[in-house]
Subunit: 111 residues, 2 copies
Amino acid sequence: MQTALDFDQVFAALADATRRDIVRRAIAGDEGVSELADHYPMSFAAVQKHIAVLERAGLVTKHRRGRRKVVHTNVAALALARRLLDRYEELWRGRIDRMSEIINETEEDRQ
Amino acid sequence: MQTALDFDQVFAALADATRRDIVRRAIAGDEGVSELADHYPMSFAAVQKHIAVLERAGLVTKHRRGRRKVVHTNVAALALARRLLDRYEELWRGRIDRMSEIINETEEDRQ
DNA sequence: CATTAATACAACCGTATGGTTGTATCAAGC
DNA sequence: GCTTGATACAACCATACGGTTGTATTAATG
C-alpha cells in the first residue's frame, strides 16, 4: 500500500524514456506486463525490471486481471512530484515568504 | 546556451536530495559554488559535481559575480518538467482524446 | 490435474554514478 | 606581477543501474 513517497525514487524512475512511456501507457490501465513489453526493443525481463522500478517508486501498481497482471499508473504519485516542482516555481515567483520553512525536503509527505 | 532539454537528464538531476536542495537555494541566486558547498556534509568537489550535473541538465546556470560564480536556477527548465507531469495528469483525466499523438516523448521540445 | 501462458527472480556483465583526494587554472586585490 | 581565494578538472574506488539469459513460480483452462 506504499508508505511515504520518496522523491529520489520517483524522479529516478522518471529519468528513463522507456519508463516514462510505460507510465503513459499504464494511464489507460489495460495492458499486462508482457503486452507492455511488446512495445519495446528489449527483453521481457528488462521491461519487467523497469516496471518493478516504477512500482517501488509508487508510480504504478499491478492488479491481477484474468491470467495477466494489469499495470496501472498511480496519478497521485505523479501529482506529488508535480507539486514539488510547483513549489519551486512559486518560490521563484516570490509568492512564498519564508523560503526555509516551505521546502525542507518534503520526503515525509504521505500520499 | 543549452539546446534541447533532455528529460532523462532533468529527472535524473532531480533524483538526488542534495541536488534538489541546491536547486531550491539557487532560486535566490545569491550563492557561489563554495558557499553552496558549505551547506552539505561532503567535499567541495562533490558539490561542484552535483552543480555540474544540474548545469548539464539545464536546471541551473553560473554567472561570474566578482570573484565567485553565482549559481542561478533556471525556472524555465523546471516548468518544462512540470508540464510533462501535467500532461500525464491531463491524459488521466481524459481531457485529451488521442493519447498517442500527444506525448510521444517530447524530448525535442525547446526551451 | 496437467499444460501452458504470464509473471517473477537470480546471476552475471559493462558502464554510469557519487563520493574521495590531489592538482591546475583563473581572476581579484594588494 | 604575486598571492590567494574561488573554481575546475582528473584519477580513482565502491556501489548502483540497465541490460542480458536462464530457471522457477503461479494460476487459468482444456
